[in-house]
Symmetry: C2
């Protein structure tokens, strides 16, 4: 049996393009002699169309695309992911309360279609619908009626979808008990550092416990806040890794299942993986938005230098314009460092001093602003200039915010937060340093080594306002990733005053986080769509 | 049987304050001779704490509050809403994949607790968990095991929770078949215009079909994007309305159930209800955020005049500062109108001309901006000034955006969109006119009657850029509230070019909507948390 793993990069809602990609890969797989070619979860529509699923006509168009795939499957088997539906009634009106339930006229299923030789042989429906973190599948989908198996060219197949394999005693076990020899899981599994190993260990457990060959097919690509990392793989009934597809790369991988020998698991180091995830996230956000150019404000500090370097690596130096926006407070060192970053990255650098605008604001205000108000004004002046340049050049601004400052609100809403995308928003400051160091010569050593400063008042240092980042980040990991309470943080040894200060800042900056651009998720718990918080709440524990 | 309906205004996460409010109402009900006092859904924690439910310690604190209510229930019955839980295990680590599921260690239930005389008699768990529009209960809660009944002081009671009564053949019917004489539904039901009548009709249907007295207890208050409108009521087994509590007002309503006679249903007119909803939304957003002062930029146009008038009505004239920010393009008429609005509202009006700042921006940019870039620059200059004043005065900015302009992106991100709250974000422009007219003398007639303009270029009129609002709004209602497709819009008679233009603008402005401040929901489908859209998607149908 020759298998094709089609690790593709669907674009959400781009039904025509996704169909074209799928048809091209089917054709390629057929030419390469595959018996079966497998596409990821929701490959027809991309993961996840969200409320677009409720747009009139969306399902019909997906159905048309599916029919085209069925017709194109001459001489080959295909597994493709899409949405299947039962339409119960049409229309909606206020005299019928149930019509107020979004999508109530329709039951939707997250389905895998098994197709061969011009026929739809069957479909398997996702049983376990994740509705935590970034997932909201119970908003849209209904669980399948139960796991089944298919006989395909002499092999008994079980097919399941993403979450279906994450929970013990799930569909894989049922399918094995029904005689499945292979279980194929199609996924759209968001990246975070460390997840690939978890997937493989889990697959090995399922394979060994059930004596099956486990085939995992993931998609690849950036979609707003999320990066799908690919890394499809096959595990033997003994739990050995038989194949590992590359990460963050599209491809059709053709394998003769009978002839596979164990391969060593890939090395997976956190920072290099995060690096590649962010590159793909930037690239796909910009391209899938229909843009080609980005603008980054360079301060001379490490965050903006890193964002610029990542943008250049993702999009090429011609696609990136940097802007240095000095004030009277800006040091000579910051200027030199910004110039040096631009030089090393071979990118255009504009210099736009903000004193004139800043003075004009001060002149016209009833009282000259002071303190934090004044600092915010500087940051917002820069934000306006970056947005103006972006409008003029039909470019997107990339925001330099990191997870540590977003967590404690150490940023200016409509100032340094402006942008279409915040590439390093899910990196703690201590991770920013590590990734910046890993960029090698592209970022000057001095930029990585100097004390961090927002440079909004003379002599300002982040650590005058905040705990040292080594302490802050350790505390934030507990708070954000583990939901550790105030009392537990103190019990873990964080100084009581530090805990109090950080929690106050954390809770008070919820309104800012609601208005941030999307970040690129690289951790198990990122700010953004995977973390839902009320704004005006009063909980402080 | 004497019943107390405690239509309270919980504050999300403010467990101590909510407990104090509940204890005070129990005491009041006891003094007034009530047998039973009923509080709304999740009254202990407010609706909805969202991911705060997963914070370590949150459930324990709620449990402590519940125990205090139990101890305070001497001589009286209490029904209160809160979260009950089963804790399966503690801790989380990356070697256990299921620990990555938020809240996986705990099963949470949305529960109604029945308490009497120092004892917890039992709990009923919500069976139907809404997960559409603004709801995400399946993210947090597990369905109850089924409907039950309780015998309380000689009456058989069924208790169910919000959504439980919205679906046919639900818990109310089961409880009636188990002999319930009264069915009490505790809710946290978000307002939209027309919903109160739907609730009453539905309750009358349930009551008549089952021969039960139906008691509906809703909370009241603004919570971020949502307003709970109260309006608790009782319906007889004949389907007659026996009691109607006021809308948008807290209170304890004491009723002798045996002696109630039918009352006429209240008049419910759309614009007055929306008006009151927005007032409560503004008031509670500002107060629950710990602020007391707001800032509104007055342009001389109807949107900002309406927001200012609503803010004054919600918070008082001393709590509102208006700012007129003229440019060289601003007309004498706009100036007069802004001054007149401030005069009629008796509020402070600052005037800050933007030409100087604007010229400073133009001077420092590599090319003087033109066209839309230049218009955005003006709007952003105003945004920065408003935010600077807000920072200085520890105030919140209210944004003037309406639903029509948000739908088509006829606004400037970080410009006129800045603010903590957008009070009229869920009003189409045609509704803005109606509400402005309903404000009477507070808004000058000329402001309501003049042609709308963003006044960002000489002679600009909205209708030079957009279809007339009468057409645009009719189209947007179809598009947003009914999910009507491109083809159907054309079939409905909207001009093909208009449909094309509006859909292009609508789809292209998704990135702006992601970064808007919360609006106040007054329609069945508002932008914001009840509408989840990918940003970089390519669907255009």
């Amino acid at each position: 049996m020759r298998l094709g793993i089609a690790q593709i990069n669907p674009h959400v809602g781009h039904l025509d393009r996704n169909l074209a990609v799928i048809l091209a890969r089917i054709d390629e797989a057929h030419r390469k002699g595959c018996d079966l070619v497998v596409f990821p979860e929701l490959s027809l529509c991309g993961y996840l169309p969200c409320d677009l699923l409720w747009r009139a006509g969306f399902l019909e168009r997906m159905e048309e695309a599916l029919q085209k795939i069925v017709r194109a499957s001459k001489g080959i088997g295909v597994i493709a992911g899409g949405v299947s539906s039962k339409i119960h009634r049409e229309g909606a009106n206020l005299s019928d309360p149930s019509s107020l339930l979004d999508g109530a006229a329709t039951t939707l299923f997250n389905a895998a279609f098994l197709i061969e030789d011009g026929k739809l042989l069957g479909q398997e429906v996702k049983l376990l619908l994740p509705s935590f973190d970034v997932y909201s599948e119970k908003r849209y989908f209904t669980s399948g009626p139960g796991a089944q198996v298919f006989d395909f060219r002499g092999t008994r197949l079980g097919i399941n979808i993403c979450e279906d394999f994450w929970v013990d005693d799930g569909p894989t076990d049922t399918q094995a008990s029904l005689g499945a020899e292979w279980v194929i899981n199609i996924s759209a599994s968001p990246f975070f550092a460390g997840k690939a190993g978890i997937r493989r260990r889990l697959a090995a457990k399922r394979a060994k416990e059930n004596g099956i060959t486990f085939i995992y097919v993931n998609c690849v690509g950036g979609q707003d806040d999320i990066v799908y990392d690919g890394g499809s793989f096959i595990v033997s009934p003994e739990g050995d890794l038989l194949f590992q597809a590359p990460f963050f790369t599209e491809g059709l991988f053709v394998l003769d299942l009978e002839g596979l020998a164990p391969v060593p698991p890939p090395r997976e180091e956190t920072i290099p993986l995060i690096h590649r995830a962010i590159l793909l996230g930037i690239h796909d956000y910009v391209r899938k938005s229909g843009f080609s150019h980005v603008i980054v404000g360079l301060s001379g500090g490490v965050d903006s230098a890193l964002v610029a370097a990542l943008a250049v690596e993702a999009l090429g130096p011609d696609a990136v314009t940097c802007v240095f926006l000095p004030s009277e407070i800006t040091s000579q060192e910051s200027r030199e460092d910004a110039l040096e970053v631009a030089r090393r990255l071979s990118i255009e650098l504009l210099e736009i001093p903000i004193e004139g605008v800043h003075a004009a604001y001060r002149n016209v205000l009833p009282h000259p602003p002071t303190g934090l108000t004044e600092e915010n004004l500087q940051a917002r002046t820069r934000g306006v200039l970056l947005m103006t340049l972006a409008n003029e050049r039909n470019a997107l601004v990339l925001a330099p915010g990191n997870k540590s400052e977003i967590a404690v609100g150490y940023n200016t809403l409509y100032g340094d937060t402006v942008g279409a995308l915040a590439p390093i928003a899910d990196l703690y400051k201590t991770q920013v340093y590590k990734l910046a160091a890993a960029m090698g010569d592209r970022i000057p050593k001095r930029v990585v080594k100097k004390a961090p400063t927002a440079e909004l008042r003379p002599g300002q240092r982040d650590e005058d306002d905040l705990p040292p980042y080594s302490v802050l980040d350790a505390l934030l990991v507990e708070l954000i990733e583990k939901n550790t309470s105030r009392e537990e943080l103190i019990a873990h040894g964080f100084p009581k005053e530090t805990v109090k200060d950080v929690l106050t800042r954390y809770y008070q900056s919820e309104y800012k986080r609601r208005q941030l651009p999307p970040g690129i998720k690289v951790s198990p718990k990122a700010f953004g769509i995977g973390r839902r918080m009320p704004i005006t709440h009063a909980y402080r524990g």
